[in-house]
């Protein structure tokens, strides 16, 4: 079993003065764009696209995503950036994770964009889906209610748009209407690029399992990730589908690989800006947003404040490493952490490294990627199968501890 490493950069903008961020109700959706200097943005685009080119040369796959109207992410349109990456690179896989289909009014346009990128890249595209929510619903003016149903209908329509070769076909769904679907070009990969989705919601993981989509978790830690993958596997067993390979499982963590453990942890600590600063959000965009919590959960969420900002005490690099949310240290240490993670979640092929995040610089990011390709990735090839008995034992121990 060989693992793959992926570079995920959200292209954050950590250049707004602190006093502005402190006074703002939210650093997403409502922070005026006068605080975004296009000269700085242009430099950031150059730097991150150069990092992608480096990754293409050294065998690290690339992930793009999108968020809107905030300091956390300058990729406002994942398909646009993915199209640029498709032409800049020649070798590696490219995952769009993803455009926000619950905000996009027409999934057929999304299918066209992805088919175009797949052809541009000669079949190197992977298509990812995220449910979205919170400030994204505000900046995209999309109803935050029923987004899960809307997401699945969008995925179904995108899939049918990609695989139908004798159209036009008609779609008159609950959320989307398109009476004449017939996209050109059709995708390069047949019948379509692989689908991924980011979720830790167990019923959703089960549905991914039945559909055979790649299930990726974001910073879920050991137990939540293992439970999610278990839900995926169980759903396949119950549906009498073949057991999934490890290539159906993916995990995103903060990651920094230094020359030494000290350097890895010191620079890794700079990534935590993502959690301490970039997700500050006003209550109407978070706990009070319709659909954010089930009504019966509202009293607990509202009384406690339910801020999505974690306490800074939980954000020390050592703590994040212990929770399985960060891989940091020298190359051997990170290799050991990733192998341990794979063992504890019951097998996984894809590790998505969030490295150029927060206050990590371009030069620092490139050094970590080079070390990942040279000293970590080779150690993650030809791995023995994960021990099924050991996974079962770990699951029982975790259940007993609760």
């Amino acid at each position: 079993m060989g693992m793959q490493l992926w570079n995920h950069c959200e292209n954050p903008y950590p250049f707004v003065p602190n006093e502005v961020l402190e006074q703002a109700d939210s650093v997403r959706a409502s922070l005026p764009n006068k605080y975004c200097d296009p000269e700085i943005a242009a430099r950031l685009y150059d730097e991150v696209l150069d990092e992608y080119r480096l990754c293409d040369d050294i065998g690290i796959n690339i992930v793009t995503n999108e968020h809107h109207s905030g300091i956390n992410n300058l990729w406002a349109a994942s398909p646009v950036i993915t199209g640029v990456v498709a032409r800049l690179t020649k070798n590696v896989r490219i995952l769009s994770l993803g455009t926000l289909v619950t905000v996009r009014p027409d999934p057929v346009r999304v299918a066209e964009e992805y088919a175009t990128i797949d052809v541009l890249s000669r079949g190197r595209l992977e298509i990812g889906f995220v449910k979205s929510g919170a400030t994204e619903m505000v900046s995209g003016d999309a109803n935050p209610m029923r987004i899960r149903e809307r997401e699945w209908e969008a995925i179904d329509l995108i899939e049918k748009s990609l695989i139908t070769q004798d159209g036009p076909f008609s779609w008159e769904g609950k959320f989307f209407i398109h009476p004449h679907v017939n996209i050109w070009p059709r995708p390069y990969q047949q019948p379509r690029p692989d689908f991924w989705a980011a979720t830790s919601d167990l019923p959703t993981c089960a549905e991914l399992g039945r559909r055979g989509m790649v299930n990726t978790l974001l910073f879920g830690g050991y137990d939540r990730t293992r439970q999610a993958f278990e839900a995926y596997k169980t759903a396949r067993t119950e549906a009498r589908l073949p057991a999934p390979g490890e290539d159906r499982f993916s995990y995103m963590a903060f990651c920094y690989i230094g020359d030494t453990d000290e350097e890895g942890i010191r620079i890794g600590q700079k990534i935590a800006w993502f959690l301490t600063v970039s997700i500050k959000s006003a209550p109407q965009f978070s706990k009070f947003q319709p659909g954010a919590v089930a009504p019966e959960m509202a009293p607990a969420a509202w009384r406690t404040g339910a801020s999505r900002r974690p306490r800074p005490t939980n954000l020390e690099a050592d703590m994040l490493i212990g929770q399985g949310q960060m891989f940091a240290g020298n190359a051997d240490t990170v290799t050991r952490q990733i192998k341990e993670f794979r063992r504890r979640v019951g097998g996984i092929s894809h590790i998505i490294m969030m490295t150029r995040q927060g206050l990590v610089t371009h030069a620092e990011a490139e050094r970590s990627f080079s070390r990942a390709a040279k000293d970590v990735l080779p150690q993650l090839q030809d791995l023995p199968p994960v021990d099924a008995d050991e996974i079962e034992w770990l699951a029982r121990r975790a259940a007993a501890a609760k």
Binding site: D25, V138, D141, N143, P144, M145, R146, K174, A282, P283, Q284, F285, F288, Q289, P290, G291, V293, P295, E296, A298, P299, W302, R303
Partner: protein, 278 residues
């Protein structure tokens, strides 16, 4: 917010209904159509208003204890439901009183018309787009800071009544609010969002059809309302043939909660002036 146990069946739908018997014989039936939250059974204006009519106040699907069926999620559904409510009520003459979001429903129902409808009262209603494309007529309830909504919704937020929750209710979350109330508020908020996220609290076509309203109409407005301003209210009333606009002083978006006596006096005078029900 609860306290009403009665139910009303309308076709396949069953609604929770709050009722007050009329305190004098021959009084008209008042169908109250609630705003962003179902009407609190303890709200002082109810007993005052019952002096002048029999009160029937259903909770919309997804509000209070009324279930929201699958696929019931548009103003179109609500308008047809309330036409069905008017059908289902035994009275032959009905005065409809719509508050805020419920004022929008009432205006839609009145524009559609019903033979049993004989009076219309709109209280700080939303539902029409009057200003230019870069002017916001109605504060965005879901995108605005709750504290700001609270400031705009009341003449005096500090005197907002306990137990009845209007716009800006999020700012009143505290020990005095029970878990049960919070669950209801959350259901109401989710349901309002389904019906009203986009366009936010209006039907772009409704202003073309308000001229069809053929019953005596009163448009009441809290003089201090900054969720939808009195100027919007005057223009709204101007689109309804013969409608009278009356401002209630020292009240914001919910004059029935903030100035219950003045509110009931205005409604009573209107019911009286526009003649007894035949």
């Amino acid at each position: 917010m609860s306290g009403a146990a009665e139910r009303l069946s309308v076709g396949p739908f069953e609604l929770e209904v709050l009722r007050r018997k009329a305190k004098r014989p021959g009084a008209p039936l008042l169908l109250l159509i609630h705003g962003i939250n179902n009407i609190n059974n303890e709200a002082p204006f109810l007993d005052l208003l019952a002096e002048y009519g029999e009160i029937v106040a259903p909770s919309h699907p997804g509000f209070g204890a009324s279930l929201r069926p699958p696929d019931f999620d548009t103003m179109y559904d609500l308008v047809h439901l309330y036409l069905g409510v008017v059908d289902a009520l035994p009275a032959e003459r009905i005065a409809m009183v719509g508050f805020s979001f419920g004022g929008w429903i009432a205006a839609e129902v009145a524009a559609a018309g019903h033979r049993k409808l004989d009076r219309l009262v709109l209280v700080d209603p939303v539902g029409v787009k009057l200003g230019g494309r870069e002017e916001r007529d109605i504060a965005h309830l879901f995108n605005t800071l709750p504290a700001e909504l609270d400031r705009r919704a009341w003449h005096d937020p500090a005197k907002g009544p306990t137990g009845s929750y209007g716009v800006g209710w999020h700012s009143r979350i505290g020990d005095a609010m029970s878990d049960e109330e919070m669950v209801t508020l959350a259901r109401n908020w989710d349901s309002l969002c389904l019906y009203a996220w986009r366009p936010h609290l209006y039907n772009p076509q409704l202003k073309n059809w308000l001229h069809r309203i053929a019953v005596p109409s009163l448009v009441l407005w809290g003089a201090s309302d900054r969720i939808v301003t009195p100027d919007y209210g005057r223009a709204y009333a101007g689109l309804i043939p013969g409608a009278r606009f009356v401002a209630i002083e020292e009240a914001g978006h919910h004059p029935e909660l903030e100035q219950p006596r003045a509110f009931v006096e205005r409604v009573a005078a209107f019911l009286d002036r526009s003649g007894p029900s035949p």
